[in-house]
């Protein structure tokens, strides 16, 4: 089956000529291996025995009561994946592909460090060298993940340009790829980038939606009324949404970073950006009138990105998904509520989805059970969230 290069007008391959051949090669490899029994069984065994799939579906009874969600609040527990987030679903699938393509070296960008850790993990597993680009600001706020990547044998390369966040790390990873394209596979961490990446990442993450649809039916005998996920580049969101796109009665809600609020800095590309090209694809983008890409802001490094995956832009335009946002402050308070009422410390990214469930409960409740993609756990965030919330380790 051929790989999708465009979603409506969005997507494409706006990259230097040097990597076009590699994108062609990747497209062909993916077309072939996505149906190859050998590849699929190796990936399937690892997803089962290494990642811990299928991840459970859990009913968050105390939060559902506190937030007044009568028909039930369900968490798809991607936080229980090995390495602590959904990112490993994509990293493993792509590392197995890279091995079959004969690549000797893996590179990745990372914001929150979860994709970096997942890629370092998958590279260690198959014995490939790995370099991860990470903005200097993110290395500070996601310090623990930097140490994890290094323990896993990856080289973490600081990026100082721009604001030292995910956008800058992605640009630098692409430049490395342009330079070392013959030997290197670039594992992009979200459903962004030039085609075929957005489709490959969405496909590898769609396991989240496929599993949770079946689990909802098994547990409740019905489909959820709404599905809520946070959106950085949009990989966990597209992963879970793909399970429900054809279920017209299921409302799909993506939650972007509202940052400092309406008058401040944020990462809400779909709400406040306009279409443009960043990192190889045409999609909604925060930019100035001249097309200079704006700096995003979010308390969560994983949502601190001025772009978004092209499929989300299309889903926005056709009205299939509604995109809302949650501020830093709302996410931090939801982070604490979830920790204290469910004993689940969520990632700050995930906390944005939870904040919307709480603050938008009135609308969501009316539609039936609410399913949230609990995309990751918050161990990585204890320094930063602790500082913001005034929680520390002093006696």
């Amino acid at each position: 089956m051929s790989v999708n290069m465009r979603f409506g007008p969005y997507g494409g391959r706006y990259v230097p000529e040097t990597v076009i051949g590699a994108l062609d090669e990747l497209t062909e490899a993916y077309e072939r291996y996505r149906e190859d029994p050998d590849y699929l069984s190796e990936l399937g065994v690892l997803l089962g025995h290494y990642v811990g799939r299928p991840t459970p579906l859990y009913r968050a009874r105390r939060l559902e009561e506190a937030w007044g969600i009568d028909d039930g609040l369900w968490f798809k527990r991607e936080d229980l994946c090995h390495t602590g987030a959904h990112k490993i679903n994509n990293a493993l699938g792509q590392v197995l592909l890279a091995k079959r393509m004969g690549k000797q070296r893996i590179i990745a960008e990372t914001g929150a460090g979860q994709h970096g850790v997942a890629t370092a993990t998958a590279s260690a597993l198959v014995g490939l060298g790995c370099r991860v680009y990470m903005g200097r600001t993110d290395m500070q706020r996601q310090r623990l993940n930097v140490i994890r990547m290094r323990m896993l044998g990856a080289e973490v390369h600081p990026v100082d340009s721009g604001s030292g966040t995910l956008k800058d790390a992605t640009s630098e990873a692409i430049r490395d790829w342009v330079t070392n394209v013959d030997t290197t596979h670039y594992i992009i961490g979200s459903a962004v980038g030039p085609a075929p990446y957005p489709e490959i990442v969405a496909d590898l993450q769609s396991v989240i939606g496929i599993e949770s649809r079946a689990q909802m039916l098994a547990e409740t005998g019905r489909l959820p009324g709404s599905v809520v996920a946070c959106v950085g580049g949009g990989s966990n969101a597209i992963g879970i949404f793909r399970g429900f796109l054809d279920d017209a009665d299921v409302a799909l809600v993506g939650v972007e970073a509202g940052g400092e609020g309406p008058s401040g800095r944020h990462g809400a590309s779909l709400a406040q950006g306009r279409p443009g090209v960043l990192h190889g694809s045409y999609s909604y983008l925060l930019q100035d009138p001249d097309g200079q890409v704006a700096e995003a802001h979010s308390v969560s490094a994983g949502l601190d990105y001025p772009g978004v995956g092209p499929e989300h832009s299309h889903l926005r335009d056709i009205g299939r998904v509604s995109y809302v946002n949650a501020t830093d402050e709302a996410a931090l308070s939801a982070f604490l509520e979830c920790s204290r009422m469910e004993g689940l410390i969520p990632a700050l990214e995930t906390a944005h989805a939870l904040a919307h469930v709480r603050d938008g409960a009135a609308t969501l409740r009316a539609a039936g059970p609410v399913l949230v993609c609990l995309s990751g756990r918050g161990d990585k965030d204890v320094d930063q969230a602790g500082a913001a919330l005034g929680i520390d380790a002093s006696a």
Partner: protein
């Protein structure tokens, strides 16, 4: 009907009788006035001027051009400021602007290219717009009379070279290294074979750039190709000059040196 940009560029290649010198100036670096002066100085030595419009996220550029572009943006440089510089170079060698795709579509390709044509711009290079994505911009460029200059790379296979050649106008920019700007090329069999391959598949002149630093290297490339682009090295000389006058002098010296090496 005035001559189109493609016709003006082709004329320059026909008249030169030797390899062309195509120096790059980042518009707005270190400031608008200085970049205008540098372009005017280089115009005395150059056959074509490549004028950069800074972009926030230049994927094909190494640290030197990135930093210069960021400095230009920090100083408030806008695309229209750079096009104004092009307008002032109208009586000199043809100007080709270099910028990234988002800068073009932010205004709308038609508007952007129309504005460039009004300033006498002969061509445009968009390094993140590969040939398969270029149809719409190519139409807008043709309508405006601006040549869309395609890029080819060491990783471009023969079939794709031919595809690039088919729609090429003005010249094709052949990237000498697998990588971003600012590295260093070496004249070896691999590069000779690449230029040879490009010339076989591409009917318009082939100009080589990326990683060319010295007059010697320019001369070596000039033996094989129709022209040579030098960018990062010029920016380095401006960056390392102690003051504006020495920067002007460094640009003049370097331009004279390369021009001399190309046509002794």
């Amino acid at each position: 009907m005035p001559e189109s940009g493609a016709e003006r560029l082709e004329q320059v290649f026909r008249d030169a009788g030797g390899p062309l010198f195509v120096p790059y100036v980042m518009g707005g670096y270190p400031d608008i006035d200085a970049s205008r002066r540098h372009a005017q100085i280089l115009a005395k030595h150059a056959d074509i001027i490549e004028l950069g419009i800074p972009f926030s996220d230049p994927l094909a550029d190494g640290p030197t051009i990135q930093a210069a572009g960021q400095a230009a943006l920090d100083a408030g440089t806008r695309p229209s400021d750079v096009l104004d510089i092009a307008g002032e170079l109208r009586d000199g060698p043809p100007v080709v602007v270099m910028t990234y795709f988002n800068t073009v579509i932010a205004q709308g390709a038609r508007e952007f290219l129309g504005a460039a044509a009004d300033k006498g711009v002969a061509g445009i290079i968009i390094p993140d717009l590969p040939v398969d994505e270029a149809a719409e911009v190519r139409d807008a460029a043709r309508a405006a009379g601006v040549a869309l200059i395609a890029l080819a790379a060491p990783t471009t296979d023969d079939a794709r070279m031919a595809e690039i050649g088919e729609s090429a106008e003005g010249f094709v920019y052949l990237v000498a290294v697998t990588g971003v700007t600012g590295g260093e090329m070496t004249m070896d069999d691999r590069l000779r074979a690449l230029v040879d391959r490009a010339r076989r598949h591409i009917p318009v002149p082939v100009v080589v750039g990326f990683g060319v630093r010295t007059p010697d290297q320019a001369e070596q490339i000039g033996e094989l190709a129709d022209g040579v682009v030098i960018a990062s090295e010029i920016i380095r000389r401006i960056r390392d000059a102690p003051d504006a006058d020495s920067a002007d002098a460094a640009v003049d010296d370097f331009g004279a040196g390369v021009a001399g090496a190309l046509r002794p």
